[in-house]
Assembly symmetry: C2
Homo-oligomer: 293 residues x 2
């Protein structure tokens, strides 16, 4: 295995261990916990928590202090997938090659499992004895802002409301900034904050944070057109079936790739300016823009 | 109007104002915000936030410092009602004499409005400039513990799983301790904490916190048998229709009243021990055990 893949796998392993630990300690035994375990076991790349930890690694600090924030972020992401998959929302039966929670269990369990995960994300931050109170407050504030009614939840609503409608490229961008972008941005911002960077460095790395969601989403859209179903774990063209606007639909495949490359330039410049261009984080950003699943 | 009713109304008014303010500031305009406003406008007694504020009032401190915690608590309560009313859960079309969110809007909006409110509860605590970081962390920790997968969410799951089954009085008690009790307990605990009581006083007032949920729930069950539909805003006997176990069903009406009176003795003793027996809080506890709606 390449060193990059190996490092990625190490990160995934420790994040999964931590996630199981939190869930088993803080969610009472029963159906809700079983459903959450099912959704963690279904896998996922753990992109968000790894971005957070590798930002700390890139800044040369002890990234184990970021485990809780990283897991809280993955919990919020996982809850959002569970709720978004519900029949009343995107109505997806499969996720990562596994039946979604409302199929494997039932809708009530899926709703409650999502609610419990969202709540747990704030609980684990508040309980982490390795963080100062100020750090906990910062993480709670930024994570709640990124994921609430002016962040991810707003993006999901805008996304659903745009189905079957022609949206402009600016509207599509603002949907994705909220739906996907703000959580990915949190990963970098939280990682930089926990690294105690100077405010100058913090501002520069925020440029990476701001474009990462768009890079990720455009690549997702491109994969949905060009990818193969086995690799991405859901039917190719499923967004098209839902009649959702995508970058390739609005700009063509080449236009979408060009758009992504522009954001990649911003990302690479941000990494250079902060001296992080030869790090695992830089490799990871590159990987996200070229991934095939 | 009696002084008690007037004071209650003053509290309700300021809580409603604050709630609208938070929602309008932090939830983007659109369907999710409209749905949340609808659910706040539908009313409710605001028992939980008033318990929190009147605990601080009883301890003689400036209770305006508790506004954020009080509103956060009401947000969590409101989100839980929105999700519990969903077709996949309790399937209630009416709440407080108004159509529930999934009827007035749709299911997706109800799910997202609940998610946004839950998230907002932690956000407003983290953003309150009148609280210290330590206070914010305490409130976040206690609120998340009370409302998550070892608290309210667990209670809701146990409650649904117990439908159509014979449960013991101990099982019923543990369902209600989690489903209703922990949030009501948080009201007292948070109020006492923000009043900077001695740890001795804190321990004594915790006895009130521990029984309040059971007092409230038994009275709710009794009202469901004896109350009139107009006053309580939902069909009388609707729990019976759902085939849910209740205190009157397991103990008879008189047995249920006797059980409640025992908890009331604990509550009154706790109030006396802490010197809070001649306060609005004491009146409120009495009111909750004798309310007719």
């Amino acid at each position: 295995m390449e060193p990059f893949q190996e490092h990625l796998k190490d990160y995934q392993q420790v994040i999964n261990e931590k996630l199981f630990g939190y869930v088993n300690r803080h969610i009472n035994p029963g159906r809700v916990r079983d459903a959450i375990i099912h959704s963690i076991e279904a896998g996922g790349k753990r992109v968000r928590p790894i971005l957070l930890l590798s930002t700390m690694e890139a800044f040369g600090v002890d990234y184990t202090r970021g485990y809780t924030a990283a897991c809280a972020l993955e919990m919020v992401h996982t809850y959002s997938l569970i709720h978004d998959d519900l029949p009343a929302m995107d109505n997806d039966d499969m996720r990562r090659g596994q039946p979604t929670i409302h199929k494997a269990f039932d809708e009530a369990t899926a709703i409650l499992a999502g609610d419990a995960l969202l709540t747990l994300s704030f609980q684990v931050i508040s309980e982490d004895s390795n963080l100062t109170s100020d750090e906990k407050v910062f993480l709670t504030r930024e994570l709640s802002r990124a994921s609430g009614g002016a962040g991810m939840v707003d993006g999901q609503m805008l996304d659903m409301r745009s189905e079957g409608k022609q949206v402009s490229i600016d509207e599509l961008k603002s949907i994705h900034m909220n739906k996907t972008g703000q959580l990915l941005s949190f990963a970098i911002v939280a990682g930089a904050y926990l690294s105690h960077t100077t405010s100058e460095t913090f501002q520069k790395i925020e440029n990476l944070a701001n474009v990462l969601g768009l890079i990720f989403q455009i690549q997702d859209d491109i994969l949905d057109v060009l990818g193969d179903a086995d690799a991405i774990g859901k039917p190719v063209g499923s967004d098209e079936g839902n009649d959702k606007s995508t970058y390739p639909q609005l700009l063509g495949i080449e236009g979408a790739i060009r758009e992504m490359n522009e954001y990649m330039d911003v990302a690479l410049h941000s990494l250079e300016q902060t001296g992080l261009n030869n790090t695992f984080l830089a490799e990871l950003v590159d990987f996200l823009s070229t991934r095939d699943r």
